[in-house]
């Protein structure tokens, strides 16, 4: 599976660096820069897949400020992804979680910050972003999830809307058999 990550990096003494990790195995490392804001990897899927991005090089010194006003900050936005050159719908990202590794200085000011933040795609702290777990057959999983997330309004007015607007995989077995008997 070809995975392409598209990001917007923000520079402060260094560009953000990430590791792509699948099932706890590091696949590749990338420096995300203004000139090269994407990262492309080929990954071999297993039965279940825990895909993660580890934003690992951000340190406290990558934020410069005077009297509490931030002058420059290294951070990273994960904008969108493609798989096998197909643009993936945003829910694959917004269903994911970011586990920030807060700086000691930050923890002095903020007690008990969130450990796991859903849909967090702007990363100011280093940390690990986890995609939803998906099986080997990514596209079957994607199709099912996508269908369940599509909003179809006014079904009470038109119950046929699901098949009209989302399509159907109904094999119509009986009907097909009856036609076969006639031809």
């Amino acid at each position: 599976m070809k995975l392409s990550l598209y990001c917007t990096p923000h520079f402060c003494s260094q560009w953000p660096k990430i590791k792509v990790i699948l099932n706890n195995k590091e696949i590749n490392t990338f420096e995300i820069t203004e000139k090269n804001p994407s990262a492309i990897v080929n990954i071999e899927l297993e039965e279940q897949n825990n895909l993660e991005i580890n934003y690992y090089n951000k340190k406290e010194e990558h934020t410069t400020h005077i009297n509490g006003v931030i002058l420059q900050d290294q951070y990273l936005n994960l904008d969108f992804i493609r798989i096998d050159d197909i643009l993936i719908e945003p829910w694959v990202l917004t269903d994911g979680y970011y586990n920030p590794k807060y700086f000691a200085g930050y923890l002095k000011h903020v007690s008990n910050p969130e450990e796991k933040i859903k849909s967090q795609l702007i990363w100011h702290f280093p940390g690990v972003f986890s995609f939803p777990i998906f099986p080997k057959n990514f596209w079957d999983w994607y199709y099912e999830q996508k269908q369940s997330k599509e909003v179809i309004k006014f079904l009470d007015k038109d119950p046929e809307r699901i098949t009209k607007f989302r399509g159907s995989l109904d094999p119509c077995t009986e009907l097909v058999q009856k036609i076969k008997e006639l031809i």
Binding site: R82, D85, D140, K153, K157, R161, S168, P171, K180, L182
Partner: protein
């Protein structure tokens, strides 16, 4: 000021306000009249249960010939309530919009109720009025009138009718000028799309309709088509391809968003990319609009699309489309066999289709693939191409880039002359075909009537074989995970047609019989 009541009748989608009502009411107002739109389709739906509505739909769509007594009573009560609303407005003229053949029965029923109660002059228009009067229930073997409009006029249920585009004709008629398109005169295409006032949704606000995802409206950017495909009637309806200026189009889109909160533009065009020049202009203008005003960001569009050749487009076109808000392209690929497509009048290659899907996938633009099974020259080898289509682009179907595929009813040709070409298509039509399924409801008969043909130069493509291929592609679509639209409905209709023919004992799947008897089925 004179008053015009514009009435929209069932059966139509309730997703968006009726386009004809929005446009023609605006034209009538700009001609100095007062005009109020009454959407009877919507009014009725709001006032009946879903079960009653389904029974009414079934009746209007000619699937049943008689309404149950209680439903008749409900309809009568609601007709009365609706009549009171129109009466209160006290119009001088009433216009009834008959959108398609699915509105003809309701038009007839409505006029029978309405006409005796009003002194207003009644005019009807819309595609539905050119249907054959015999397609109405209770009117059997009518040979006296050519169209429903003629029949209704002879029955004194209407005063005037307009065939074809109504934009110019309605103004002429209100000025008492019986000109092109009016009362049987040959219609002409609308003269200039830019001279027409913008549609108004004053009485039919898009947010009040039952939209699936986003409030939307229909917008017309062009009329006619740049192609002359053998199976298509668009060139008969609009002989010339005419395009609206980008400025006028952008005014409408901006107004719709600002005034009515419209996010989805459903283009009514036969092809939204019929003119690449205009299509690029549209996309660029939409991008500019969004850059200048972030409230315009949610605007997206859908419409019918033609697969272009590599020479006619670049990757940049797809990027522009995505940024502009291209959401859903309804694309008639028709066949994956190059020779079948060539005969149809479609010039793109299979590589062009691949490029179309690759680009759609890269930018996340959805497609509905319209396909055609059993085209008169389709051989067994051509059919294999269609199977290859399903295998080759399977991942796009699973990814939702091919949102749905529609295989259709198999080849239907009422006018077989259009498809004939010396050397490969010589159509023979069964003269007794209609009599073989007289028990079928009219809605199904209309479809069945197009199936009584065989190409004498491709005689193994019998109706049975066409339907066999249809089933095979249905089953393969399911196996490979391709969502289909309307497949169950289409298969049910095919079953009913076949079953009816079978009862008449006229069907034969035997090719020897076919050779001897020129059996069409």
């Amino acid at each position: 000021m004179k008053k015009f009541a514009f009435i929209n009748i069932p059966s139509q989608e309730l997703e968006r306000p009726p386009a004809a009502a929005a446009l023609l009411s605006s034209i009538i107002r700009s001609a100095g009249w007062d005009c109020k739109v009454f959407d009877f389709n919507f009014f009725l739906n709001k006032n009946v249960s879903i079960d009653t509505w389904n029974m009414l739909e079934s009746f209007w769509r000619c699937k049943t010939l008689e309404l149950p007594k209680n439903v008749k009573q409900i309809l009568n009560d609601i007709n009365e309530q609706f009549y009171e609303l129109v009466k209160e407005y006290n119009p001088d003229w009433v216009g009834v919009s008959v959108f398609s053949r699915f509105s003809t029965v309701s038009c007839y029923e409505f006029l029978k109720y309405f006409r005796p109660k009003t002194k207003a002059t009644i005019v009807i228009g819309g595609h539905g009025i050119s249907a054959w009067p015999g397609s109405l229930p209770y009117i059997k073997n009518n040979k006296n009138q050519k169209t429903i409009a003629d029949y209704l006029k002879d029955e004194n249920l209407i005063d005037h009718y307009i065939f074809g585009d109504g934009e110019n004709a309605i103004v002429e008629l209100l000025n008492e000028n019986i000109s092109a398109g009016i009362d049987g005169q040959e219609p002409v295409m609308v003269r200039n799309l830019d001279e027409i006032p913008l549609p108004s949704y004053k009485d039919i606000e898009p947010l009040n309709y039952y939209y699936t995802n986003e409030p939307g409206v229909y917008v017309t950017a062009s009329k006619g088509c740049v192609r002359r495909c053998t199976f298509c009637n668009v060139p008969d309806l609009w002989p010339k391809f005419s395009v609206r200026s980008n400025e006028s189009l952008m005014s409408e889109i901006t107004k719709n968003k600002k005034q009515y909160g419209v996010n989805l533009i459903h283009f009514t065009d036969s092809l939204i990319n019929g003119s690449m020049k205009h299509f690029r202009e549209l996309n660029k203008s939409l991008i500019e609009l969004k850059e200048q005003d972030s409230t315009m960001d949610p605007i997206k569009y859908m419409g019918q699309f033609i697969c272009r050749t590599a020479k006619e487009q670049t990757e940049n076109d797809w990027e522009l489309m995505a940024k502009a808000g291209a959401h859903l392209l309804v694309t008639g690929f028709e066949s994956y066999s190059p020779s079948v497509r060539k005969h149809m009048g479609k010039n793109y290659s299979n590589e062009d289709i691949t490029f179309h899907f690759e680009q759609s996938a890269y930018y996340g633009i959805r497609n509905i693939a319209l396909m055609f099974i059993g085209y008169p020259i389709e051989t067994a080898e051509d059919h294999e191409y269609n199977k290859e289509f399903l295998y080759k682009y399977q991942k796009y179907a699973k990814a939702g880039i091919i949102h749905m595929v529609r295989w259709g009813y198999t080849g239907m040709f009422r006018d077989t002359k259009k498809v004939e070409k010396p050397g490969n298509v010589e159509m023979a039509v069964d003269p007794n075909f209609e009599s073989k399924f007289k028990n079928l409801p009219q809605g199904v008969r209309d479809i069945a009537l197009g199936m009584g043909w065989i190409n004498k130069l491709n005689p193994t493509l019998t109706l049975n074989e066409r339907i066999r291929r249809r089933l095979e592609l249905h089953e393969l679509s399911i196996e490979l995970g391709w969502p289909q639209t309307r497949s169950k409905e289409e298969l049910s209709i095919l079953y009913n047609i076949l079953n009816n023919l079978n009862r008449n004992k006229n069907i034969s799947g035997d090719l020897e019989d076919l050779e001897n008897l020129l059996d069409f089925h």
